[in-house]
């Protein structure tokens, strides 16, 4: 699974960092960096983080399956 955070929406509430600190990190007070490829054993926490985001900026999903058709 992959995640992408819409950092234009992010306001640095850091709820995701609290709930899944191995995947999301704050650099400084509100700069969010994250691991886009979610390890399987962290998926549940990432889903919690996505649910908790006050601005609903975290998208969890599969990559495009790039075979033709």
């Amino acid at each position: 699974m992959r995640i992408v955070v819409d950092l234009t929406r992010c306001q640095g509430y850091a709820q995701c960092v609290f709930l899944a600190p191995e995947v999301f990190q704050l650099h400084g007070e509100e700069g969010l960096l994250y691991t886009p490829a979610v390890p399987g054993d962290r998926l549940e926490r990432v889903r919690q983080a996505a649910a908790a985001c006050p601005v609903q900026a975290i998208l969890v999903g599969e990559e495009v399956a790039a075979g033709d058709g």
């Binding site: 609290f18 899944a20 400084g28 649910a51």
Partner: protein
């Protein structure tokens, strides 16, 4: 009825079980409505959200000129301070609790929260209806916040009394003389702060794995709370830590008992629990009202609110605003796009939100199997408080 009496009607104890029709009346009359006492009441989601992000809106009671703030001895915590002081104190308070300095603290408590939950469930009475509040939803967050701060659990009766007195001062009762309530709050606050400072002092040089230890043993003077700041901050965390989550968990149980189809669904799809807790925070938020004070005259949705006026933001009304949430009066466990106001928004967004989320998810998840076929023994009595709204008891036959 006169929309100018809405705040009085909302805070009337008789409205506690179901204030939502009054919020609908507020949004229809508003979204901004001046009350008889000069207070302004705001009920629309977009207006509330904008005001919570507006740097001209003060959270500090002392910004208020009408009605004048109570001249007491209580020092304000960061909950009721503005930037830059709010930012400084909240950042220092965050150091031992969350990112960027302590990102793993809350996550690392999951195991302990689950264990405490299981212990409480194992001790539930079998010979009488379970009181979800006293037997479960109250003790869980209290034990957790005690553990986190470093407060002995045995002292709970003492700080419960202080907390009750202080929370009463945070309530609003338009038209009532609250001088006695405020005085009692002053006494309780002073005793609680003294108690917490004493606990912190005992950890000086002998740090344990708790936040009081971290506060008192901070080596960098520029990152250290003064004793007064430490006491005020710790008091805030202790009180907020157990006056709000109890409502979230109890409201959750009540919502699931009243909607057995949701209970069934969550049992089938436990992965929905995080989303369901967010929906709960929208549908039955633990905090219904927050006060702000404009520092200059501001215009909201065509209404000018004079500087210094008390403005009550009805978070629970914003959460039910059909202009923001489709079918707002329905509980939808997997509601998408749920930017609710259950924890507020902006710089004052609830400090303990991640902890409350984990506690509520853990508590409700563990309770789900036991709620099957359970039913409330009665319509629950509510606590007096209109701002921190929740049942006082919820007796359930399991």
């Amino acid at each position: 009825m006169d929309p100018g009496t809405l705040l009085a009607r909302i805070t009337d104890y008789a409205s506690r079980p179901d204030p939502y029709p009054l919020y609908a009346e507020l949004r229809a009359a508003g979204p901004v409505v001046r009350q008889e006492d000069g207070t302004f009441l705001v009920g629309g989601y977009h207006q509330i959200a904008a005001l919570l992000h507006d740097p001209r809106m003060s959270a500090d009671e002392r910004s208020r000129t009408a009605p004048a703030p109570y001249e007491g001895t209580r020092d304000a915590s960061f909950l009721r301070l503005d930037d830059p002081e709010h930012h400084r104190l909240r950042t220092l308070a965050m150091r031992p609790f969350g990112p960027p300095h302590s990102p793993h603290r809350v996550d690392a408590m999951r195991g302990e929260i689950a264990r405490i939950t299981e212990e409480l469930l194992a001790d539930l009475p079998a010979d009488r209806p379970v009181d979800i509040v006293d037997d479960f939803a109250y003790p869980l967050p209290v034990i957790v916040i005690c553990r986190l701060l470093g407060v002995p659990r045995e002292d709970e009766p003492r700080f419960r009394a202080w907390s009750d007195a202080l929370v009463a001062t945070a309530d609003i009762r338009p038209g009532e003389d609250t001088t006695e309530v405020e005085r009692a709050g002053d006494r309780a606050g002073a005793e609680l702060r003294e108690y917490l400072l004493d606990l912190a002092e005992r950890r000086r040089g002998r740090p344990a794995d708790d936040m009081l230890s971290a506060f008192v043993n901070e080596p960098d003077p520029s990152l250290r709370l003064s004793p007064q700041e430490l006491a005020v901050t710790a008091a805030l965390l202790l009180i907020a830590g157990h006056e709000t989550t109890v409502n979230l968990i109890t409201n959750g149980v009540l919502t699931l008992l009243r909607g057995p189809e949701h209970l069934q669904r969550l049992r089938r799809e436990p992965g929905l629990l995080p989303l369901a807790v967010e929906e709960l925070l929208r549908y039955e938020p633990p905090v219904h009202l927050r006060e702000r004070v404009p520092l200059v005259d501001i215009e909201v949705a065509g209404t000018t609110i004079p500087a210094g006026t008390s403005v009550m933001l009805a978070l629970a009304s914003g959460n039910r605003d059909p202009l923001r949430f489709p079918e707002p009066d329905r509980f939808v466990p997997d509601r998408p796009d749920n930017e609710h106001l259950g924890f507020g928004s902006g710089i004052h967004l609830c400090y303990g939100a991640p902890l409350a989320r984990i506690e509520a998810q853990t508590a409700l998840g563990a309770l789900l199997p036991r709620l099957e076929g359970a039913e409330p023994a009665e319509d629950p009595p509510y606590r007096q408080n209109a701002m921190l709204r929740g049942p006082r008891h919820l007796r359930v036959r399991m």
